[in-house]
Symmetry: C2
Subunit: 320 residues, 2 copies
């Protein structure tokens, strides 16, 4: 009788692969607890509605779901942010002041186009509720830097943007054109982008330049000089955040206004963590002030999540 | 829009409930690593066949399962033992000598009779492959004691039995009578048990006395004096195990030959961990030499798993 194979996208981890992930999890969780975050444990299986309410259509096609005995649709945890936002709105419905929650565990996603990709990945992250604007953003950016250091990373970078940079220009575009423009921005195809926008309003045409902004403080300053007034608030916000960072922290930050993934989800700053030598993000975060309200209580929120599987690839050796 | 409720048997853990579990997990895993066990991480979702092959009919009705995109039946992890046995037989197919593996994570079970009971619980455990007989049994009993101490328990007890004590008598019984006898043994109903067995063979009639044996070394010695020859090997094995334990370890051991749950699963010693004040077992283990072979390679195996949710109830305060 041959041993059964694993389902597509499932993986056994042994030896250093398992030990390294557990050590990363322990170290980064210790950093979160040290920063005042308290762990919450949410169920691995929830009603699909929780994840759909938080993530909408892009989540719907990637959920792993099944029917419960009572006929209701369950889903494996797609992300923690939805569940933790639900907890913030329910368990902590009467909580006042800042609420700092941490989490870690597996999340489950299937990619309709890439069946064999891992469907289960190990995440760890934090959510800060109740602190709006720059103060909360700064705390999360610093926390992300602290997590990267706790993980043992030295050569890493945070690509930081703000939805308010492109939002005014994108809002001026109609449905189909908007989709095309987003695709060209995502592909960094400046020529096609400029061509698509040449007959559009000044705010829309400004997208060509703004979407190409990537660099340090001076890139933001240059962008601000040429940006339409509607984009000023976002750029000024990023400049204020930059001014508040220490030199050591600032050395890891690159401002990137051309990141469009998650644009419908975030409501302010958003960022991705990249580790030298790894082609995909090892973490992501941002502000989503609209999320907790979907579960019954309006609260400003900003968070970060790390992909510990990707991170383990980026950390040469993890001491247990 | 009201916040969605959680599915039956799902739970959010916050504050000390979450922190306590994580601390217990960290401490007990550290004890396992210190004892030479290496962590393996198996997928949360596997083919149902893995769990059915290991656990058979009692598992079948308690699995949480769903259909994969390719039509095959998946199940949420019912226990780690099945998955770790699969890993031992496949990833470690060429491994020689003792193999010590540890694990921790959620397991998922639904109870057909008690719908609202927790369907997800947090487990941690260890499996020792490749050491047959007393030597392996001793290592696992000592490891279980070390785990209980690492968890911070002081007032706890291991109820230890051996399937070989009752197996000869049970083997002499036919189907329906065997089921009835098992039920009376489980209920400790000595009167009905004796009545059911009065017309049976001497080996079967010996069940009445053997199933009632519970105590320290002297209880085993008394049992041995009156037991049928077929039960001697099991009793002698337990006596040898007792002799090898230190006084401090022995103080936590109670021999209990009347435990019939898992009788079809274990092939030698089996035990449960009880914590003062908690009415259900906080851990269980035993020898199952037939399990790994079901995945393609015969290896002796003995293991233990802790229910960290139950354990958390038994530990007054868990320091982070």
């Amino acid at each position: 009788m041959p041993a059964p194979l694993l389902p597509p996208g499932a993986l056994d981890l042994t030896g250093a692969a398992a030990g390294g992930r557990r050590a990363l999890q322990r170290r980064t969780m210790a950093a979160l607890l040290g920063a005042g975050y308290a762990e919450v444990m949410t169920p691995t299986v929830e009603y699909e509605e929780v994840f759909l309410r938080a993530g909408g259509a892009p989540v719907a096609e990637r959920l792993l779901r099944f029917v419960d005995r009572d006929g209701r649709i369950l889903a494996l945890r797609y992300d923690f942010t939805a569940s933790v936002a639900r907890v913030a709105a329910t368990t902590f419905a009467e909580h006042t002041g800042p609420l700092r929650l941490a989490y870690t565990g597996p999340v489950f996603r299937q990619d309709p186009e890439r069946g064999s990709r891992a469907r289960e990945t190990l995440q760890l992250g934090a959510e800060l509720f109740g602190i709006a604007g720059l103060e909360g953003d700064l705390e999360l950016v610093r926390l992300t830097l602290a997590l990267a250091r706790a993980a043992g990373l030295t050569d890493f970078q945070i690509n930081l943007g703000h939805v308010g940079a492109l939002a005014p220009g994108l809002a001026a575009l109609e449905g189909e054109l908007r989709v095309r423009v987003l695709r060209w921005i995502d592909r960094k195809d400046k020529a096609n982008l400029a061509r698509a926008l040449e007959d559009q309003s000044a705010a829309a045409r400004a997208l060509t330049a703004l979407a190409g902004v990537i660099g340090r403080r001076n890139a933001l300053e240059e962008a601000l000089a040429g940006a339409p007034p509607a984009a000023h608030a976002a750029l000024t916000h990023l400049l204020a955040l930059d001014a508040a960072l220490s030199d050591a922290d600032r050395a890891h930050i690159v401002y990137d206004l051309g990141e469009v993934r998650g644009l419908d989800y975030y409501t302010g700053v958003h960022f991705e963590l990249f580790v030298a030598g790894i082609g995909r993000a090892a973490g992501a975060g941002g502000r989503y002030d609209g999320l907790v309200g979907k579960f019954g209580r309006e609260r400003p929120a900003v968070g970060v999540s790390l992909d510990l599987d990707t991170l383990a690839d980026g950390v040469a050796t993890v001491e247990p």
